[in-house]
Subunit: 122 residues, 2 copies
DNA sequence: TCATCTGTACTATATCGCATAGTACACCTA
DNA sequence: TAGGTGTACTATGCGATATAGTACAGATGA
């Protein structure tokens, strides 16, 4: 399920958070679903339990999961909507990248082609 | 000229590299131009000379700049073209962000509007 | 009941990237 | 020759990341 790139510069705990959000957007995780336990996932990924806990703590902080001591960590109510809303920040990022591409001499239509192509994939 | 955001998570030396490339794209720097000296810029930005050197070393590694001991650091031949080519990577980044926005339920036309608007600005 | 799983909270340690501080050397130019 | 230039070191400090180990309390199922 989760896959960690040990060579990546982005911290392991962030990779877990990111993938969790992806799973929410893709429908792999749904409201009420139970995440792998801290210890189980730490064994599965060959990673320290504290690192998993840090990832879950971050997900909790973002309101995407709810921790229940003794039971586990579960996807919160409204988690999918929250992630979707957060991802709208990408519109701003795209705007910034577009400005740079304009400076680099890339034509507007070429950028839009890239968007249309990407949107049609998958 | 250069402006450092001390609160930013991106390292100071990367900020300098980034701004240098921006200056190249915007025409502030041209081939043959002399960059501020390591010591001068370190005083101006209130930053350690070693940090400036690290930034210039990175610019040199990317082939954007040529260091001449005793004289200074100068914009290389073909630097502008190199930066422009590198910035085409943004097309791929935009494609990735587009896919995420699609998952988040954002319509294709909304993304394209964002691109068109950004392209018209400045 | 009890073993076992769960989350949680600590302390300690190691590593790495980043930045600073200081010194030194060789080169170029006015 | 004096002062500015790039360059190369060593040493130090700091914060983020990750590991290691231990411990406690709540929940669950045999």
């Amino acid at each position: 399920m989760f896959q960690i790139d040990a060579l990546s510069r982005t911290p392991v705990y962030e990779q877990i958070v990111e993938q969790c959000e992806q799973f929410l957007l893709k429908g792999v995780f749904t409201v009420g679903d139970k995440l792998p336990s801290v210890r189980q996932l730490s064994v599965e990924l060959a990673i320290n339990p504290n690192t998993i806990q840090k990832a879950y703590l971050e997900l909790d902080r973002r309101g995407l999961v709810t921790s229940v001591p003794g039971r586990g960590v579960f996807i919160s109510e409204g988690a999918i909507m929250k992630v979707s809303e957060d991802r709208r920040e990408n519109l701003g990022k795209i705007a910034e990248l577009t400005k740079e591409l304009k400076l680099a001499g890339v034509k507007e239509e070429e950028i839009i082609d890239s968007v249309r192509t990407a949107y049609k994939e998958d």
